[in-house]
Chain length 340, copies 2
Amino acid sequence: MAGERAATLSDVAREAGVSLATASRALNGSDRVVRPELQERVLAAANKLGYTPNANAQAMARGSTETVGLLVKDISDPYFSTIAGGLADEAEKHGLLVMLCNTGGQPEREQKFLAALRRQRSRAIVLAGSDTADVRHTSEVADLLTSYLDGGGRAAAISQPRLPVDTVVIDNHGGAKALAEQLVGLGYRRAAVLTGPENLLVSAERHAGFAEGWLEATGSEPTYVSDEFSRDGGRRAMTRLLDDGPKVDCVFAVNDLMAVGALAACRQAGVEVGPDLAVAGFDDIATLRDVTPGLTTVRLPLADIGRLALELVLGKPSAELRKRSVHGEVVLRESTPPRS
Amino acid sequence: MAGERAATLSDVAREAGVSLATASRALNGSDRVVRPELQERVLAAANKLGYTPNANAQAMARGSTETVGLLVKDISDPYFSTIAGGLADEAEKHGLLVMLCNTGGQPEREQKFLAALRRQRSRAIVLAGSDTADVRHTSEVADLLTSYLDGGGRAAAISQPRLPVDTVVIDNHGGAKALAEQLVGLGYRRAAVLTGPENLLVSAERHAGFAEGWLEATGSEPTYVSDEFSRDGGRRAMTRLLDDGPKVDCVFAVNDLMAVGALAACRQAGVEVGPDLAVAGFDDIATLRDVTPGLTTVRLPLADIGRLALELVLGKPSAELRKRSVHGEVVLRESTPPRS
DNA sequence: ACCGTATTGGAAAGCGCTTTCCCCATTGCT
DNA sequence: AGCAATGGGGAAAGCGCTTTCCAATACGGT
């Protein structure tokens, strides 16, 4: 095993009795025409030797690779994994390989990965979910990105219009606002928002959108409780709200995960979601479509967002920054029944 | 923009007034000692020029890369994304980059990706969830893998003891069997299994394990209905079972996704899960821990499995194939109350 | 017949690094 | 003082491929 080193192109050329150049041309097809007979011989030789091109060598010679980088906060979060799935599918269509970088929301890691991707001479980079409002970090990322772009790289972001790259903008504000309006339409009057950390952009946008819609429709402001942007955060926030928050008839958790946590907290506290208290989320995570009671939420075309991001980043570069907006759609389910 | 081509090592060397060799040594640290003063100068020059090593060139020169490949059936499935998360974390610790390949369960894609990973000279490859019982395909994958290994690559699989590589074996059989025993202990007597496609190994193993446990404990065989290995498959299978299957008091869906589908089907049919009919799943997907009624399932340490797989594949190669077993733990929840 | 023009194969120059090998200076001993 | 050993820098040989640039051959036209 591992004895005979992998066959190289020169091995193939020798075997076929042609020059290196011809062998390369025969295999790559494009470029210039090679006499069919020779082409045949080269292909046969390559096959016989079990030749596999060395992508690194190709990358060097051609000056470009077949990989794209994807930065996500947490791939095990269904929100990101769904986006990743869409992006991966699209990448496959283009014959590209995806480098997955799990930042865990840590700025240093994010920067480290960005550097690594640059070293790898990745064709493109897509950033998903590093939406922090931390200015210092954002500007460092922006710098890194700029020098990557200067080096001929391409980059796009998902939902972070603060980076100097093409962006798939998710209309968090509008979606949350629409949700608020619908809830008011259903008869709810006193709302609370369960938000993530203050500096998380998505969270802030959804919170603001909801508050705006609510204010316009009812003239009152929703209260809010903030905690982690996760299932447990939702549970804790809801518990706090139940224990010593103001009395409300409806709760908006800024994402489905938090909403599910809220559901759990309600159950534990003996509050029946639906009749006693309405709860709504955001994202419409597929895995969660069957919780009981059915969770009212704002559906985001997550897989499409991933696809779109790749399209954007692979498309013709243009001078001005491109933005592609994606809107959510309110989905009403049993967790927010019409109020009688 | 994009004007001045990226600084290369020779640029750095020139700037620092040293040779290429010295520059390389200064930056890589290891190798041989460089006088501190020169080292300093090189570092400064690199910094000034914004030098980024070219990973492809390094890969060529060193003959090894910093990437590992991960093949999964569907990254948007929480089962795989959780594994991927664990693996990605572990990879980060080792300074490795993860190439994510979404096979969609298509054999051709799987082979294509394997070839691509080989071309990239990936350090290692981890295969998750290509557990098909399709002999032809399995042997083709095995061939591909073998030649990859011969070329000095390393590979490991998750839960597919049929491939000639180190494997993290998930004890599907044992977990399902234990579940069956517990259910019988709770007083259930007539069971049905909702399985995935016949040729899906995980599904088959869980089915068999459950059947074995059930048979030993009750003397009777569970019936089964087979459909897709997904939420919708579970819903359809359950509907069929409810419509024209035999009367049972307990249903085991071979994974949580199917179980959730089954839950939905029950709800729609007016069957109350728990009192009327018990339902259990497998995996203990985190996102699903809050469904109502709480889903009895077999918990798998998914993130650990990902971590373990990487450890295995990065560990010292050994002549004989290594197997690492991972066991599930039955988690009883409200979907399977003690039968009165 | 002759010359200009396609057409196609091959030699060789990189692409940006690492690493071997060689050499010059010190340093330490006898 | 003379010599071996040691330490550290540099030249250059690759790593495996692509792609110019040349050269050779064949072809068409007048």
